[in-house]
Symmetry: C2
Subunit: 327 residues, 2 copies
């Protein structure tokens, strides 16, 4: 849950004079997102989301994030649409923070997704990848191999506080990934954080993707591996092959993976498990005890990392052979 | 901010089958209220608030709270209206908690209220007092003198951690209030927690009162004293006489205070300052450091208590003499 910056009605009304959105009738801080402060606004017209970008979001990245949302929405993907200000800009300043108004997307994120939902997530991810191909801005992924190393340097010395032997295990994992990370796979704009709370459904129908604030340019199949980690493990740590199969099939029904991407899937999944392990570990070790965020357990992603280390072929994720040979 | 209990879409949809509210299209946990978990629901009809009652709210009190809201709304006071279930009940169970659906009240609470808003608050409070006179249920105030003593017993030993000498000062204050607390003043249903975040405005117009979960039967003028504490002090601790005058005048324009109530105002204000000091002190000393609530500073109310101790007459709160002599 996240409302880091509160806003006064006067400041908000002043901010809204720059937009053509009707009269404000209510605003409530909402318990969504962990990086930024979000408010749900009611107006005499449509409901809106107001996002105040906190310090983890670099203002220089906002043209990429907000432009991408506009680009994807124009291409037919259902995602929140940043509203332009009267001066044409996509964001302004409120309570000392960069702030944007964004269309409200109806739908709910699933606390207990099933395989059929994973299939829809796979499809939507592939559609996003295709639609992102002609987006003109680029943003490097600061949380890929080099970024992991930087992050690790900040946590390594205290890693054994979380589990004995961790320092050695992760250092060796980073070495391995650094030496074997694929370079020549299809690349483009990826979501990079398509977790369950970032996908809305109305009934069983996917109604949209949200939260593009980790989006960047990277290997498309790496994004698939993030979704495998985010959607296809059960709470007890077990990998759900049926969900994995559905997610990959859904993806391939829109954008088939090529042979090199398929072969790379296990190492990409190790990398994405490590990526979330490292940010969680860092937060775990540095978030003050009284902070208003729920610290996520880094060990969940350590277990996933260890699972992927044993995988020898993408078929073990549920990728069906016929599809593989046909591609 | 408060979402203590998360809910799944399936559980929520099941819960909603007991109501006639249209189709659910979204639900978001909102950062409002500190006692219960609140969600803002959008449906194909009207927006709604869903409240899950956490352990601080006694389920046996819900008929009083929810019945009172119905009673006040029927009497013309703008407040949220609990929706009846198909079986006629005013609440059900969701995620193991008692839960009620309540109409959504448009409006915003004021971070920086002015005197004119205090006047509206006074009027609305008096209207609520009049409207509550014929409400048939009763609920004793568990947070009056006896309740303060119980609360104090749990904190007294550690009070000097907060400020040296506090144990002696508060014990003596409690003795004084116990000996001098008024008994024969006009009584009825009071809100008992009419802080800024519980009063909504649309522009300068008061659009409604919310959060009746401390409502109870007690002295009506005690409720006025709570509002003086909640609305008429500035952030630096100064009492704003203009706001006090506006609040009292607003109140008296609807329900004039009698001579005994006016004379009792200083001691009532000491009592209500002590009441909020004691709950904040208790929370301060007992809330675990990692809890998802902002701990409110008990010393704010200690300063208010000390201020009231020096008051010799209600005129010092801004009560105008003519009004006094005319009553």
């Amino acid at each position: 849950m996240a409302v880091y910056t509160d806003i006064t009605e006067d400041d908000l009304k002043q901010f809204l004079t720059e937009y053509d959105v009707g009269e404000l009738t209510s605003y409530k801080g909402i318990a969504e997102g962990v990086e930024n402060s979000n408010f749900l606004l009611h107006t005499t017209r449509d409901p809106l989301i107001l996002t105040l970008y906190e310090k983890r979001t670099d203002e220089r990245d906002l043209p990429f994030f907000l432009g991408l949302m506009q680009h994807l929405a124009a291409g037919g993907l259902s995602c929140p649409l940043p509203l332009p200000r009267n001066d044409g800009g996509l964001y302004g300043t409120l309570s000392g923070r960069p702030a944007a108004l964004i269309s409200f997307l109806e739908g709910m994120w699933l606390r207990k997704p099933e395989a059929k939902h994973c299939r829809e997530v796979g499809k939507a991810l592939a559609r996003m990848h295709l639609s992102g191909q002609d987006f003109e801005l680029t943003r490097p992924n600061s949380l890929s191999v080099e970024g992991w190393k930087t992050l690790w340097e900040k946590s390594a010395a205290r890693a054994d506080e979380v589990e004995t032997g961790l320092q050695e295990e992760i250092s060796s994992e980073l070495d391995h990934l650094g030496r074997n990370w694929p370079k020549d796979l299809a690349a483009g704009v990826i979501h990079a954080d398509l977790f369950q709370d970032n996908v809305f459904f109305l009934g069983d129908e996917l109604s949209g993707l949200i939260d593009f604030y980790f989006a960047c340019n990277d290997l498309l199949a790496y994004d698939v591996s993030i979704c495998l980690n985010a959607w296809c493990f059960e709470k007890d740590g077990a990998y759900n092959l049926t969900k994995g199969q559905a997610l990959i099939e859904g993806y391939q029904s829109v954008r088939p993976l090529d042979k090199a991407e398929i072969e790379a899937l296990p190492i990409l999944a190790r990398g994405s498990a490590l990526r979330f392990f490292l940010t969680r570990l860092y937060d775990w070790l540095t978030t003050p005890a009284g902070a208003l965020v729920v610290k996520k357990d880094p060990l969940e992603y350590l277990r996933k990392l260890r699972f992927h280390r044993q995988i020898t072929s993408a078929t073990e994720y549920g990728l069906v052979e016929e599809r593989l040979s046909a591609s």
